[in-house]
C-alpha cells in the first residue's frame, strides 16, 4: 500500500497526460487545464520539504554541537527575520509603523523587506559567484594544460571564442567565432541534445512505469 498507491498514481496520471496530448476535443483541454491548476496548487506546498530539512539540519547541528554549529543560529535567525518581515511587509495595503522613504509612506516591514533583498541577498549571491573569476584565473595559470590532442583542440576553440569576443569588431575573428559556434559547436551540441532528450524520455518512461522509483524515498 505504501508503495502501490504512489506507483499507481504516477502510472495512471502519466499515461492519461500522454493520451491527452493526442486528443484535441474540449473535454481533453478542460482536463488538462484543471490538472495544471491542481499541479500549481500542490506545488505551492512543496517548499515544506526544503524548509523542514533546513531546520532539522541546523537544529541537530546546534544540539550536538557539531563543527561549525555556531553559524547555525545565524542562518536560522536570518530565516526567521526575513520570513516575518516578508510575511507582514508584503501583505497588500500594509501600513503598520509607517516610515517615510523618498516622500512615500510605507510600512517599516515593507521597507526592510525590499532593502534586505536588494542590499543583502543580491550582493551576497552575486559575489559568491563572482569569486569564481579569480579561481578561473588561477586555474588558467596552473592547470589548463594542453597535454593531449583533445585538450589542445579544446583550448584552441576556447581561445578563438575569447578572442572573437574581445576583437569582435575585427571582422575575420568575430566571424570565425560566430562560425565556430554555429557550425561545429551546434553540431556537437545538437548531437548531445538529441541523446540527452532520449535519455530524458527514457527516464520519464521509467518513472511512469514504476521502474525508476528513487523518488519513493531515496534508499531502497
Amino acid at each position: 500500500m505504501k508503495r502501490r498507491i504512489p506507483l499507481t498514481l504516477t502510472l495512471v496520471l502519466g499515461i492519461v497526460m500522454m493520451i491527452q496530448f493526442f486528443i484535441p476535443h474540449q473535454f481533453s483541454q478542460d482536463f488538462k487545464n484543471t490538472a495544471l491548476e491542481w499541479l500549481r496548487v500542490i506545488g505551492g506546498f512543496a517548499f515544506i520539504i526544503g524548509l523542514a530539512s533546513f531546520i532539522t539540519h541546523h537544529y541537530t547541528k546546534i544540539k550536538h554541537k557539531k563543527e561549525g554549529w555556531a553559524y547555525s543560529p545565524i542562518a536560522l535567525g536570518a530565516l526567521v527575520v526575513m520570513a516575518v518581515v516578508g510575511l507582514i511587509g508584503r501583505s497588500p495595503n500594509m501600513n503598520w509603523i509607517p516610515v517615510t522613504v523618498q516622500g512615500q509612506q510605507i510600512s517599516v516591514f515593507t521597507y526592510l523587506f525590499s532593502n534586505f533583498f536588494t542590499h543583502m541577498m543580491i550582493p551576497l549571491g552575486a559575489t559568491m559567484f563572482s569569486v569564481l573569476a579569480f579561481y578561473i584565473a588561477s586555474a588558467a595559470y596552473r592547470s589548463f594544460r594542453a597535454k593531449s590532442l583533445v585538450s589542445i583542440l579544446l583550448l584552441v576553440a576556447a581561445f578563438v571564442i575569447m578572442l572573437a569576443i574581445i576583437f569582435y569588431n575585427v571582422l575575420p575573428l568575430g566571424d570565425l567565432g560566430e562560425w565556430l559556434l554555429s557550425v561545429p559547436n551546434m553540431a556537437a551540441k545538437r548531437g548531445i541534445l538529441l541523446g540527452a532528450s532520449l535519455g530524458g524520455i527514457a527516464t520519464s518512461l521509467k518513472i511512469i512505469l514504476g521502474i525508476e522509483r528513487g523518488y519513493l524515498g531515496g534508499t531502497k
Binding site: 505504501k2 504512489p6 506507483l7 498514481l9 495512471v12 497526460m17 500522454m18 491527452q20 496530448f21 490538472a35 496548487v41 500542490i42 506545488g43 505551492g44 506546498f45 517548499f47 515544506i48 520539504i49 523542514a52 553559524y71 535567525g77 536570518a78 526567521v80 516578508g86 510575511l87 534586505f116 533583498f117 542590499h119 543583502m120 541577498m121 551576497l124 549571491g125 552575486a126 559568491m128 563572482s130 569569486v131 573569476a133 579569480f134 583533445v150 583542440l153 579544446l154 583550448l155 576553440a157 576556447a158 581561445f159 571564442i161 575569447m162 557550425v183 553540431a187 556537437a188 545538437r190 548531437g191 548531445i192 538529441l194 541523446g195 524520455i201 520519464s204 518512461l205 518513472i207 523518488y215
Partner: protein, 236 residues
C-alpha cells in the same frame, strides 16, 4: 598562522579602507549601500582563505533566501491561487489539491511519513506525462528537421550555407556515433566516432571560453557596484 589572524587582517584592512574612502572619496551615504558593500567584501575574503567572516555572510545568505521564499510562497502562491479562491470565492473543488499539498507536512510525522509520496508521485506523473510528447516534438522532431540539408541552401553564387549544413549533419551523426555504446571495437564506427570527438571538443571549447567570460562578467559587475554605488569613483 592562528585561526583568527585572517579575520583580524580583514577587519583591519576594512577599517583602513573605510576611513580612507570617507576622507577622500564621494562615498555613498546610504547605510544600505554600506551593508551591501561590506557583505560583498566579506564574501571576497574567502579568496584569502576560509574564515569566520565568510562563513557568517554565507549563512546569512542561506537563511535570508529561505525566509524570502517562505514569505513569497505564502503571498503569491498559497494565498493567491489556493486559499483565497477557496475561502473568498468559494471554489470548494480546490479542497482536493490543497489536501494533497498538505500531505507534504507528513514528512515531519514519522508514522505516516510515507504519505508524502502521494503529492510527489502526482507531480512526477503529470510532469512526465506532459513532458514525453513535448520533448519528442520540441527536440527530436524539431532538431532533426532543422538539420536536414535542403536544395535551396545551395543558392547559385553562395553555396556556403549548404556546405555548412553538410558539415553540421556530419558533426551530428559522428557525435551520435561517439555516444553509441553498442559498437564493437575495430568496427567501422571507430574512426567515425573519432571525428565525433573533434566536434565535441570544439563544442566544449566554445563553452569553455564562454564560461570564462561569464565568470569574469560577474566579477566586473560586483567591482562596478563597489566603485560606482559605494565609493562613487566611477561617474553615475
Amino acid at each position: 598562522m592562528k585561526k583568527w589572524v585572517p579575520t583580524v587582517i580583514f577587519l583591519a584592512v576594512a577599517v583602513v579602507l573605510i576611513v580612507l574612502a570617507i576622507v577622500f572619496l564621494p562615498v555613498s551615504k546610504s547605510v544600505w549601500v554600506w551593508i551591501a558593500a561590506l557583505l560583498t567584501l566579506a564574501i571576497f575574503s574567502i579568496l584569502y582563505r576560509d574564515n569566520p567572516i565568510y562563513r557568517i555572510a554565507e549563512h546569512i545568505f542561506v537563511g535570508l533566501s529561505l525566509g524570502y521564499g517562505l514569505a513569497m510562497i505564502w503571498h503569491l502562491a498559497l494565498w493567491q491561487i489556493a486559499l483565497r479562491p477557496l475561502f473568498v470565492e468559494g471554489r470548494f473543488i480546490l479542497i482536493i489539491p490543497i489536501a494533497i499539498g498538505l500531505l507534504y507536512f507528513t514528512r515531519l510525522i514519522p508514522k505516516v511519513s510515507w504519505l508524502v509520496r502521494i503529492p510527489i508521485s502526482i507531480a512526477l506523473g503529470l510532469g512526465s506525462g506532459i513532458a514525453i510528447p513535448l520533448i519528442f516534438q520540441a527536440t527530436i522532431f524539431e532538431q532533426t528537421k532543422a538539420s536536414l540539408v535542403l536544395p535551396e541552401m545551395f543558392a547559385p553564387g553562395n553555396p556556403w550555407p549548404g556546405i555548412w549544413a553538410i558539415i553540421l549533419i556530419i558533426g551530428i551523426v559522428t557525435t551520435l556515433a561517439y555516444f553509441f555504446f553498442s559498437r564493437k571495437e575495430k568496427s567501422v564506427l571507430s574512426p567515425v566516432s573519432k571525428v565525433g570527438i573533434i566536434f565535441i571538443m570544439l563544442g566544449f571549447g566554445a563553452t569553455f571560453g564562454l564560461t570564462v567570460m561569464s565568470r569574469v562578467s560577474l566579477l566586473i559587475g560586483r567591482v562596478q557596484f563597489l566603485l560606482r554605488e559605494w565609493l562613487g569613483i566611477i561617474a553615475q
